[in-house]
Each structure stands twice: as C-alpha cells, then as structure tokens.
Symmetry: C2
Subunit: 463 residues, 2 copies
C-alpha cells in the first residue's frame, strides 16, 4: 500500500477509506482504553489524529514508545471524528515504529520554546509548527517567483558565486582562496602571491549577480537570477544575514516605467500565490506571530502602488507633521522612519520612489537630463519598508565611463561591462529583491535568522 | 504598441498583423532596392526576417548602421514570406536604432568561431546560435527539475553555501574568510587565529547540501536542494568545474527501491520536458553538435532502466569479450570504460548499479547485512556514463557512529547529524545530480565550460 501525505488525507480523505501514513508523533493523549496520537509529516501545519485502541496488539508497548518526536507508520481506516478540531481521524489497524525519541533528552517536548533556543537546535527546529510553516511558505514564495518569470518568458540564469571583481563597491567581501591560511605565500615585494591561488588572482563571494545578468539580458532580452549572495558585514541585527538569496530580474528594451510595472506585478503575484497555496500557514502567522500579516498582504495585492519622485517625497516629508529622528534634506538618503511614514501614514499603501540623487546611488544607474538624479526606484511597503531596489541602467558608453571614473573605479576593470554599451546597447532595467526579507515580511517573523534553514551571521556557521 | 517576442511571432504571427519587435541584428543582406535583416531577441534560435524597402526614410543610413550586433526596434506588418526558410517576414514601416556595433571591432562577425575563442568573450557568446540554444535548454532543464519535485510535494530547501564542516571528506575545499590574506593573524602557538575571522572558526564553500537536506527531510519528508556547490580540485578537464549547480532530493520513509524509482522518473521527466519545450534547440544540437543527442534522449525516455548489483556487474565485466584498460576486480571502483560498456554495449539502455563495496563509498550509506556492501546506487546512461549517484542513508545510530569512526572522523563533529538517528529516525534515501553534466549530456556540448554562463576553473574567474 502506497502511503499518502497527511495534507492530502486531511483535504480529501473520506470515511471508511483504508490508507497508510508515515510521520512523526507531535503529541500523545492517553484515555481509558485508547489513546490519541497526533502525527505530522511536514506536509501541513495540521496533524492527523490517529486513534490507538487497547485491543491493538502490543498496545501498551506502543504507548510507551510513541513519545513526542518518535517516527511511525500507521495503516488504518478513516472515521469521522467526534472530537472537535478535525473532520476525520485514522483508526489504527497496524502500527510500525521506526525510531523512538527519549522524552528525557529530546529537546522538543510539547511546550513553547523561544526562537533563540530553537536556533541552537537548527537541526530539529523545522519539526515545530512555526518553522514548519515558515519553510512551507518559503518554498511557496520561491515557486511563485519562478512561475512569475517563466510564464513571462524570462530565462533563469545562474550568475557566478565566486567572482574576481568587487565592481559594485558594495563593501565588505568574503575572500575565497585555496591558499593555506597558516602559511600564505608572499611575493618578493611582500604582497600575497596570488599566482599560487586557485584562480591566479584574488577572488570573492558575489554581492550581486546584476552585472552578469545584464550580460545575459543583452542576448535573451529578459532574464532573472535567483541565487545566494554574500556580505561580510559585521551586522548583528534581526535583518542581516552574511549569506542570503537574492532575486534579480533584468530586462532589455525596458525603461524605469516598465521596471516599476514589473516590480508591482511581481509582488502582487508572490503574495497572492502564497495566500492561495498556504492559507493555513498564513492564518497561523496572523494568529501567532504578527496580527497584521494578512492585512499587509491584502494591502499589497489590492492597491495600485503610489509612484512619486524622491524630490516630491522630500517635499512631503518636510511638510509632515511628525518629528523625525533623522534630518530630511534633499541629497540625504531616506531612513526607515521616512519610508514608513510615506507608506504607512501618508499613502497607506505601497509606494515607489524614483529619481534619487546620483551621489547616493550606484554608478550603473541611468543619469537623468538634470545630471543630478538617476533613474533609480525603491519600492516601500507598509509595515515592511524598502523591499525592492532597482533602476534603469546607464546604456550610454560615454556617460557610464565617466560615472565609473567619478566613483574612483577603473573603466578597464569593467571592460566587458562597457562592451555591452559598445556593441548593440539598448535601454534596460532591473531590480533586486532580498529573498529572506520577502519571507520575513510575508510571515511576520521578527528575526531574519528564522526564515532561512541554516543562517550565517557573525560568529555563527553551525550545521 | 507593446512589443512582441520573436519566438511568439514566428509561432503565431499572421499575415497583415501590425506589430513591434526589438532585438539585435544577426545578419544583413542587401539586394537591389531592399535589404533583409535577420533579427534575434534571444527567445528562439530562429530569427525574424525583417524587410527594409528603399522607400523607407533614411534607408541608406539604416543600412550603414545596421551591422551584425546592432540593436533596433522595428514596427511593421507581417507578410507571407516568399523566400524559403521562413513562413512569414516583417515589412518594416519604422525603424529605430538603439545601438550600433562597429564591424571593425565587434568580435562576433558572421562566421564560425571556435568555442575556445568564444570562452574569451563570455560576455558576448550568448549572442551566438550555439550558446543561445544552450542557455535556453539549461533554463528548460532547471524548470523541469522544479516542476518535477513541486508537483510531487517536495519542498525546495536552501542549504548553506558557507559551511564549517568538511564532513563528506570530499577533499579539496575553498576557504572562505574575512581575514586579510596579506597579514593573517596567528595565535601564540602559531596557528591561524580564527577568533578574528568572521565566523570565529575555519569555514569553507560547501561540496554538497546532502547532510542538511537530511535535516529538512526529517521534518518535511520530501525535500530537494538546487544550488551551487564547489570543488577546489585542480582538474583542467572538459568535465570539471570549480563551481557548479547540484540537485539533491532527499526522502524520508524511502528505501533504495524508492530512490531508484524517483531517479528514473526524474531523468525521464527532464528529458521529455526539454524535448517538448525546446524542440528547435534540440534539433540544432543534433545537427550541429552531436548527432546522437536525440537518440540518447529517446533511449532514456523510452526504456525501463536495467537494475543490477555491483557484484553482478563485476561478474558480467569479467566475462566481457572486451579488453579494458583498467582492471576489473570486486572491490575496485568502476571506471568510465566499464560503465559505458554496461550501458552502451551490453544493455543498450540506462543501467542502475546498486550495492557497492562499503570501502569505496561514503560513510553515510546504509550498510547491508553482508557488512561488505552498502545501499548505494549509480545511474549510468549510454553516451553519458554516471549521471546520478545516490544511496539509502544509514539510519541506525550505532552503525552510523561506527562507520564514522572507522573513516577516521569524529562523531562529535557530526553531533547534529547523529541526532537525526537519535530522535525519530526513519529509513531515508536520496541522490545527487550535477546540473551542468546533465545539460552537457542533454546538448552534447563537448566541454562543460560551455554549458554554464560564467565557468570557474583553475586560473579562470573572468567576468
């Protein structure tokens, strides 16, 4: 008999059906002459209630072994459940125990555990309700992302993880090396002898696949990356990871308007897909983690995003009847408090700010005719803040070369990137989205370490 | 007017339709009074033939500018094509040139270029027919993989790229560090002072996500990874990359039979999906790259894989009327020539070998009752050789601890992996597939560097 997943049984199972399930015991409740075992196999938040009757052979032995965390296979018959909380339950006919979990040492006994504690048992925490829900929603987000781009004819491209360029100047990089750190070889003039290193030069973990995605967009028109990126920033906050996944679409023949249209459609699609495919998990987050997650999702799905320029935003912030901690001045970057004021208090829906001052944005963003602002955009969402950052790219060779020089970088280091402007250049645009932040906002989880299976943060690379 | 993708126009376009396309010039052919421009936008191998008539304003200027590699937008009307090779063509009404490509310096002029040369211009090579086809097929493979697992209820899990364990003992690892390589800090007893490093200990780039995937399978039953993995092996061959993507499904409540069933269904699905979605590209590979790729695909899709044990295979190889270069002996690993003999000459279809000698396989594979062999499996395909390696995992705590010790490793370093056997252990199994090898075999491309956008190999981390 082929076993069935519990999510499917809870959805489709009919009284009198015979079936087999396999999973782990969440709780056990003994009553006179029988016992209820809640079994979970990770396919859903809800457990399947299994009824063990005392006429089952080895009943007493089973009850002794079937503690929280133990694994089993049950063959039985579905019955309508008389208890509340479930439509059906499984009356066990045969039980097979695969593995026990000693109640004296198994750390996940039935009680509330803090997320801090659960991080120390990252190899077991996915067996809890919260983390089960998080990783099902994470998978649904990832699936929604691929679905969104694939149905629109975008190619998924894999940009390199190991890179020899620190072109974005995004700052703190991890070095990748095959040299023996105990005894790094040096050249005569006392620099590192990289000729002995694997790649023959210094290499790093990528901070973004954008520049390479632009290469691919200049051949396939529409592409996206979805892969890991890295920051060696010593930021011990609830919103920073040293290793995280990023989504970066890039479109040829596209300006900032098209970029904003894509970003808006993208966010709406992902939120909608998750609500449709994980309603039970999203309800759980709304009840137990953050009472506003469904409202936030609804706000994103059902509102046309407000679009305005940075300059307009500054003037609105200057007029605001609010005491901000940080100064508001044209030319300064916006702080989280400013972004949240705009999205939450003023417009009460997602806002896209465009045309930021050139000096606070990256070299590759397209310079406007005013020569002071660039065609950048940030998507700000209520309760969330900045969730997407993007831009139309500078496609003019001369302007780009000058911008590179102005930032103290060498155009020759970016020869291949400049070639894209030299040969068949086209207007193009794209954006980046931090995948874990998306999952964090979707679920309301307070700490970003709790939305990735094995978080990497300063002093922490466990499991 | 919204522009349309060329693949879609070639498929659905009807005479007299007005439309806009955007792309890059592949070739230009001037005739008396008019010219043909072949335009490609990366959506298909085939170009759209655009007809420029001399009555077009600026006709002469356009012809001068529209060289191979230049980018343009054309608005026009579809007409039935009188020339052979295409059903329809686009008669241009207005043309807008975005960017030129100087024919004296643009490296991709209309002629055959060697793949070696094209590797030196990795930022442009995707604009050729071969690489266009490769990366469309690569995307189709990736999509097929997600589709296969998602429809079967597997969760995509992201296992860590940076890891503190070299548990597989897979050998050569890249170090990841935030230390300054010029001046690595040392402790008093002259070892590296890792307390100053980002993670406070030595860290590496992962060689496999399997152990962490097992963690997730013990909560969600069925999961898969699909992400980058690394080897710092100094292998300058046509089948090795230092950075490559790997797919690793892991299933709880599954034995080696189930694992083999999954591997077989998986390969059939991916090949079928690519043939269905990229018929033109696959036809191209069959004609231009390797005349056997369609036959190989057909062989994989339409044959039941032959299953036999390593021991049976050794006895068949010993009886073979073939002179092998490497010795055949129970206990020795099989060489490529042996694997190809079995798949190509003897069975003429994919073969799954099982139950290899324990001493040539990894510590986590389940020990058979004979205590000499383990529940490993390798899938060997004609023309391809080994394409998948997998196993049922050792789920018994005692046996696993002993195997770890026997391999000179410390069980305490794998405390969390052993915990999976301590608490609710279940039979489980999985496999690994090198994604670039799959794409290489699918397309018949001779060098694995030509199936990943930006290959990383010894002395090479360009772009």
């Amino acid at each position: 008999m082929v076993s069935r997943r519990i999510a499917e049984v809870l959805r489709n199972g009919q009284p009198d059906e015979s079936l087999k399930v396999q999973g782990w015991v969440r709780t056990k409740r003994e009553l006179k002459g029988f016992a209820f075992i809640e079994v979970n196999d990770g396919s859903s938040l809800a457990n399947l209630q299994v009824v063990l009757n005392q006429d089952l052979p080895d009943y007493d032995q089973f009850l002794k072994q079937l503690n929280t965390g133990s694994s089993l296979e049950v063959v039985g018959v579905l019955l309508p459940s008389v208890g509340k909380g479930q439509r059906i339950e499984l009356k066990a006919q045969t039980v097979k125990i695969y593995g026990e979990a000693d109640p004296d040492t198994y750390p996940l006994q039935k009680k509330r555990h803090s997320f801090e504690f659960l991080r120390t048992i990252g190899h077991l925490r996915s067996r809890t309700n919260s983390f089960g829900a998080v990783f099902r929603v994470r998978n649904a987000c990832a699936t929604a992302i691929h679905e969104f781009f694939q149905t629109r004819g975008f190619l998924w491209v894999h940009t390199p993880i190991i890179t020899a360029s620190d072109c974005e100047g995004a700052g703190e990089l991890f070095s990748v090396t095959s040299l023996n750190l105990k005894d790094v070889p040096h050249t005569e003039n006392n620099t590192v002898d990289y000729s002995q290193d694997f790649f023959g030069k210094p290499t790093y973990l990528t901070v973004s696949g954008q520049l390479e995605a632009e290469v691919m967009a200049m051949a396939f028109s529409n592409v996206y990356t979805f892969g890991p990126t890295f920051r060696a920033e010593n930021s011990n906050t609830s919103r920073h990871l040293a290793e995280f996944w990023m989504v970066e679409p890039e479109m040829a023949f596209c300006d900032l308007e098209g970029d904003m249209d894509l970003a808006e459609a993208f966010l709406k699609h992902v939120f909608k897909h998750v609500l449709e495919t994980c309603p039970e998990d999203m309800e759980f987050f709304n009840q137990r983690i953050d009472h506003t997650v469904l409202e936030t999702a609804d706000n994103i799905i059902n509102n046309e995003f407000q679009r305005l320029t940075y300059t307009e935003a500054i003037s609105l912030l200057e007029k605001a009847d609010v005491q901000f901690e940080y100064p508001v001045n044209w030319g300064l970057d916006l702080q989280s408090e400013h972004e949240r004021y705009l999205a939450e208090q003023l417009f009460k829906k997602p806002v896209i700010l465009t045309d930021y001052p050139a000096q606070i944005k990256a070299f590759y963003m397209r310079l406007n005719d005013d020569e002071k602002t660039v065609r950048a955009m940030d998507v700000l969402a209520p309760k969330i803040g900045e969730i997407i950052g993007g831009s139309q790219r500078e496609e003019r060779l001369e302007v780009l070369s000058n911008r590179i020089k102005a930032q103290g970088m060498k155009p020759e280091d970016l020869w291949w990137y400049l070639d894209l402007r030299r040969y068949g250049t086209v207007p193009h645009a794209g954006f980046g989205l931090g995948f874990e932040r998306l999952v964090q906002f979707m679920t309301g989880m307070g700490n970003i370490r709790d939305v990735i299976p094995f978080p990497r943060t300063p002093q922490n690379a466990e499991f």
